[in-house]
């Protein structure tokens, strides 16, 4: 379980996150939504110890963020940061193998090779394995980045806007894959989504943030309402129920 207690965060005196209390139990897909600048990326990077935590505590299973070692956390939690832009010229297969680093510590074994193969297959990247990351499309690169985090084989997977650059087929494919990993692989996935309809269709739980606070938390059907659209997103979009799932009409 990821357990967040009393987290506050400010950058240069400007408050970014306030009074964050959140429990994310093992398993399931949690979508984090909210307007731009709400603090979603900041929250993910605090959980993944990419920024120093000031006030409050965050625990991932038995590991306390801030005092546990980077290497230990790397075997439990993987993150794909929003700004994951790689300037290095790496082949797709090599990049996915980098995700295995916490396990092989620089000496990839046979098992690492097998996991990379399997990951590439799962993410439909096998045919691109030998292509350089800077010589494939933005969407393919995005998929490779998610694959790299997946290959880390952690219980927790944090993804910051992984659908960026993906077309509808690739987006649905990726979301289904994540859904399946949560259902059969017992992975716990926290995903920042831009498009509320993807959150409604694929997440078990939706956490809504605005101006550094959590303002709603619950099942998609309970959270995604016209009132939410008006209060949080400040738009008068209609919400319909289709197959018992809320759908925001744009």
């Amino acid at each position: 379980m990821i357990s967040i207690r009393g987290v506050k965060h400010s950058i240069q005196g400007k408050p970014i996150l306030q009074d964050i209390n959140l429990d994310l139990p093992r398993g399931g897909v949690t979508a984090l939504i909210g307007p731009n600048g709400a603090g979603k990326s900041t929250l993910l990077s605090l959980i993944a110890r990419l920024q120093p935590l000031g006030t409050g505590t965050i625990r991932v299973d038995a590991l306390q963020i801030g005092s546990c070692s980077d290497a230990a956390l790397a075997r439990v939690l993987a993150i794909m940061p929003q700004s994951a832009q790689i300037s290095a010229r790496l082949r797709v297969g090599e990049a996915v193998m980098m995700g295995r680093y916490p396990w092989h510590r620089g000496r990839p074994g046979k098992r690492d090779g097998e996991i990379v193969e399997e990951t590439l297959r799962l993410f439909s990247l096998t045919s691109l394995a030998d292509r350089f990351l800077d010589e494939i499309s933005g969407g393919q690169r995005q998929r490779a980045m998610v694959a790299m985090a997946y290959a880390q084989e952690t219980d927790y997977l944090l993804l910051d806007e992984p659908l960026n650059n993906l077309d509808i087929a690739a987006s649905r494919h990726l979301m289904r894959l994540l859904r399946q990993m949560a259902d059969t692989g017992r992975k716990s996935i926290v995903i920042v989504l831009h498009d509320i309809n993807y959150a409604a269709a694929f997440a078990d739980r939706v956490v809504v943030m605005r101006e550094g606070r959590i303002v709603a938390d619950g099942a998609p059907g309970a959270v995604i309402t016209p009132a939410l659209m008006a209060d949080v997103f400040e738009t008068d979009a209609k919400v319909h129920l289709v197959d018992d799932r809320p759908v925001v009409l744009v």
């Binding site: 990077s45 993944a48 110890r49 990419l50 070692s69 980077d70 290497a71 230990a72 956390l73 790397a74 075997r75 993987a78 993150i79 940061p81 700004s83 994951a84 832009q85 790689i86 300037s87 290095a88 010229r89 790496l90 082949r91 090599e94 990049a95 980098m98 995700g99 680093y101 916490p102 620089g106 350089f132 800077d134 880390q152």
Partner: protein, 315 residues
């Protein structure tokens, strides 16, 4: 396979280098004529080894510096590290003239390290969207330290020594006068053990940390290797520019940036380039010699321009 080809090429160059010079030598002489054996062991072999060691080490540490600076166009020799090394030996020679060589060497390595750290601190805030700003700032930084070196040398009446450190040359290499380069070779070879982690740094600090890399320690280890190699080369041969810039860029272009895989090639090509340049320098105006730094300066500048125009997308 390709590695073997490269190895054969470099060995061929080495054989040529062993038998080129003012005094003609044939392979048979070396075994029959004691004078020829002596020449081979005290001059030709050390010179060839010096070129190979310096070339390989400079190419490897150039690649590492480019990862640490997150920029492909930075090269330690011209970006402050080379000038800092010259400053180190100069100060050592001026302030503690009687000191043994190893003390001067340590001082040179220390100033080089300080110079490299200074560069990284200086370029860190530069926007990644403007990749050409970094080499520009690096060039100015190197120029400033170079000016300081000139000033100190002028004040200390050491201008004639300065040329020795600023222009890399192999004509002075003799047995007993190049062995510091083995330290450079060892330092460069040792980076093999952190090559995988350095590659991960290239994915960005966040990704590297999330994979459990200690970014600080790996950066420090990389900088140490860069500084030791630069200092040793400057102290024993003088500054040799462009090797650390052109070779890693060529290799990256063809083979990518997965260093555990590419560093052996980087080393081989660097060694071959410096040795070939020295062979040229010895032959084009024989019996006079053109310094290896001058030959590489010309060849390297042309290669670098080609790279710049061929590859506008990658910073």
């Amino acid at each position: 396979m390709r590695l073997w080809l490269g190895l054969v090429g470099v060995l061929l160059l080495a054989v040529i280098s062993l038998f080129i010079g003012v005094i003609p030598l044939s392979p048979r002489d070396v075994f029959t004529d004691p004078e020829a054996t002596r020449l081979m062991l005290t001059s030709r072999l050390p010179r060839t080894l010096a070129a190979l060691l310096a070339g390989a080490a400079l190419a490897i540490t150039g690649q590492i510096m480019q990862v640490l600076a997150r920029n492909r166009f930075v090269e330690p020799m011209t970006a402050g590290a080379g000038q800092s090394a010259a400053l180190g030996v100069l100060l050592a020679t001026l302030l503690i003239p009687g000191a043994p060589v190893w003390i001067k060497m340590c001082l040179a390595a220390a100033t080089t390290l300080a110079g490299s750290v200074g560069l990284l601190v200086l370029i860190r805030p530069l926007p990644p969207t403007q990749p050409l700003l970094v080499p520009l700032v690096a060039l100015i930084y190197g120029g400033l330290i170079g000016a300081a070196v000139n000033f100190v040398a002028y004040q200390g009446d050491m201008m004639q020594y300065l040329q020795v450190w600023l222009t890399g040359e192999l004509s002075g290499v003799l047995k007993g006068r190049y062995e510091l380069l083995w330290i450079a070779g060892v330092a460069a070879a040792a980076t093999w053990f952190i090559a995988g982690r350095i590659t991960l740094l290239n994915l960005g600090d966040d990704v590297a940390r999330s994979l459990g890399i200690n970014v600080r320690n790996v950066t420090a280890a990389g900088l140490l290797a860069v500084s030791v190699v630069t200092a040793m080369v400057v102290v024993t041969l003088g500054a040799i520019p462009f090797v650390g810039l052109v070779v890693p860029n060529l290799v990256s272009r063809r083979m990518g940036d997965n260093l555990p895989r590419t560093l052996p090639f980087t080393a081989l090509i660097g060694a071959g380039l410096v040795l070939a340049a020295d062979i040229c320098g010895r032959t084009i105006r024989a019996p006079f010699e053109v310094p290896v730094a001058a030959v590489i300066g010309v060849v390297g500048a042309v290669l670098f321009l080609i790279l710049l125009y061929r590859e506008p997308r990658h910073g």
